[in-house]
Symmetry: C2
Subunit: 384 residues, 2 copies
């Protein structure tokens, strides 16, 4: 065993001795998980962490910890395909409908002296860590007064480094949308009433929250809400009970159509199942929203193929351009380091300081998608 590895195991042991949440399981189990690559060590500047790469007993993928804190991975919320039957199967009065924002999920946590944003997989997100104070200026006061809470937020907008879809009402840059407060160590969420109170008190931007609703009596209201969201080009809704109970999500036909548009050209990078899944969801959207059938039928072909057909005319590498702005140049370099680790191929096109921000334009290169289409265009045969 290398000295470095021994050092990491000593640190894991120290975390286990110091952090009560780890002692739920024997040290040996954690060590085994480390050997199996389920528990991974990483550092952010002068801070050290472990993150879970797979579910491990009670703790889901994306859980991260060190000697002082443990934050659970954000849970996957089951999707329902039909509101009429799904709402009453999972929810009862009172529940709320929160807008589901197209972006990426971060958990904001105060670690010693600084507030860090962690991605769904438990990495530190350099971009969200850099930018939260522009959008959630009262977060320091929030954490002083609520040291046991984690702030779960969606980062969304045309200038984010990860997701090419975004809500059409964000015209530039990004925003943070706080949608949950989670308890450190335990992973429980505050209920909606308490959440609304804290959002207001600390002036934290949040998704639209409607309710309370009853699953049967308010079905029409909820259907109208989703209809409006579709027409306003919004992604969908997460339904949350006020107190304990199930959460479920539902997305608009618009969102499924957009996913197809955005992903089809990049087949080869992503699982083809992604495409089938969106089509299945669309069919079930149309079961409940017959009024959108003509629209879906008329745009589906274009959404699927148009960009790909345009790409066929050029011979260049498939790539997607992102523009983002940072407060600190060092955080931009930390993001680049993250992309290297995640084996995402990046080409930086432009950097400039402007209005106090380090503005960056970069492309993600998709060699697998390029090859996927190129070999077919060049006439190579396949047994499929």
């Amino acid at each position: 065993m290398k000295e470095e590895e021994k050092e990491i195991l000593r640190y894991l042991k120290y975390c286990w001795e110091t952090n009560v949440y780890l002692r739920k399981y024997p040290l040996k189990d954690w060590e085994d998980a480390y050997y199996k690559g389920k528990v991974l060590f990483f550092s952010w500047k002068n801070k050290n962490f472990f993150r879970l790469n797979k579910d491990f007993k009670f703790y889901p993928l994306g859980t991260f910890f060190n000697e002082k804190i443990l934050v659970l991975g954000y849970p996957h919320i089951p999707r329902i395909y039909v509101l009429k039957t799904g709402l009453k199967r999972y929810l009862k009065y009172p529940f709320y409908a929160e807008e589901k924002i197209e972006g990426y999920n971060v958990r904001l946590v105060k670690v010693d002296d600084e507030i860090l944003a962690f991605t769904r997989r438990g990495y530190v997100c350099a971009f969200a860590t850099d930018r939260w104070e522009d959008f959630l200026p009262e977060l320091p006061r929030f954490f002083e007064e609520n040291p046991d809470l984690v702030v779960c937020a969606e980062v969304a907008g045309p200038e984010n480094p990860f997701v090419s879809e975004y809500p059409s009402y964000i015209k530039e840059d990004i925003n943070f949308f706080v949608f949950d407060f989670m308890k450190k160590g335990e992973g429980e969420f505050l209920n909606v009433s308490k959440k609304l109170e804290l959002l207001k008190k600390y002036r934290l931007n949040s998704p639209e929250i409607q309710g309370p609703f009853d699953p049967e009596k308010d079905y029409q209201k909820i259907k109208e809400l989703l209809k409006r969201y579709h027409l306003e080009k919004r992604e969908g809704v997460v339904f949350k009970p006020d107190y304990e109970g199930n959460r479920v999500k539902y997305v608009t036909p618009f969102s499924n159509l957009e996913d197809l548009r955005v992903v089809f050209p990049y087949l080869g990078e992503i699982d083809p199942y992604f495409v089938s899944l969106r089509l299945i969801r669309l069919a079930l959207n149309l079961y409940e929203f017959e009024e959108f059938k003509e629209e879906v039928y008329s745009v589906l072909g274009k959404n699927l193929f148009e960009e790909t057909l345009e790409n066929f005319k050029t011979e260049r590498l498939l790539q997607e351009t992102f523009r983002v702005r940072f407060k600190k140049e060092s955080n931009f370099h930390a993001m680049l380091a993250h992309f290297r680790i995640a084996k995402v191929s990046i080409e930086v096109k432009k950097t400039e300081w402007k209005n106090g921000y380090f503005c960056v334009e970069f492309s993600k290169i998709y060699p697998k998608a390029t090859q996927f289409w190129k070999s077919k265009l060049e006439g190579w045969g396949e047994i499929d």
Copy 2:
């Protein structure tokens, strides 16, 4: 080991000692393959065979043999997605374009006293075995004069028991389309010139065969042919060199659109990748046949969703109805036995003797597809 199993192994040894094609590999290898479930024993009436369930050394899946014969599995032909580049990559003058018929592939072989039809997987097809003499009446003379050949044919039409798509020009019942003569034991095909001669001599029905072509000079001609096939609702083309060389296939946008229409309602039974693959092929069809873009865009949504949306309105089990006619009732029962082995759930709706044929109507029941859609319609959530 059970007595029955010992008996099968003794028979395998006997086949190996008697049939020269098996002695290509040591007996031990064949026995190992049997233990691993790659070589399976089966019988058809008073005849015994083995078939390969997986590729085994030189012999592909679908190969079958006994002490007297060995017939290789019909090879998978690579698909090209673009004619312009694909033809010249794989073919040179002279090659032929044979219509690819939407049906199922059988290999007709004379075994002792009778002519049997074997499916792609190496089972005896009771239906094709029952019906070949209606469509290929000179087959007995063919096999007398050509005892070393296997006749490869597509069985297609509205009244076949396996495939719900069929060429629109077959208005009732089925037909046999002979597309290859294969050498027993070796698996080589006769070249196109020789094939044309035999087809004519024995008046064997065949797919349309055009050519000879040159891959560069005749590109426009071939493109026009595929355009006509698309408009005539035909599946596509298999390109075959006259002498040795590669074979490749290409399908029309029509065929891809039809596959989507026919398969989408039965997701749950079939791999969702099937859907993505057809969409990928369609995108590449449109690269070369821009003239069909509007048509594809206008029918795609309907083809994908319309039947599924209709199904949503009923609560019954998903099923597909087939009508077929047999000459002998015993062959119908053999087909039912085959469906039992293949775990296809069947409901016989009607049987009657009519004009000398035993006419059958039966449904295939799709419990997995039923459950796939039903659980979603009932509001069950999924983490997808």
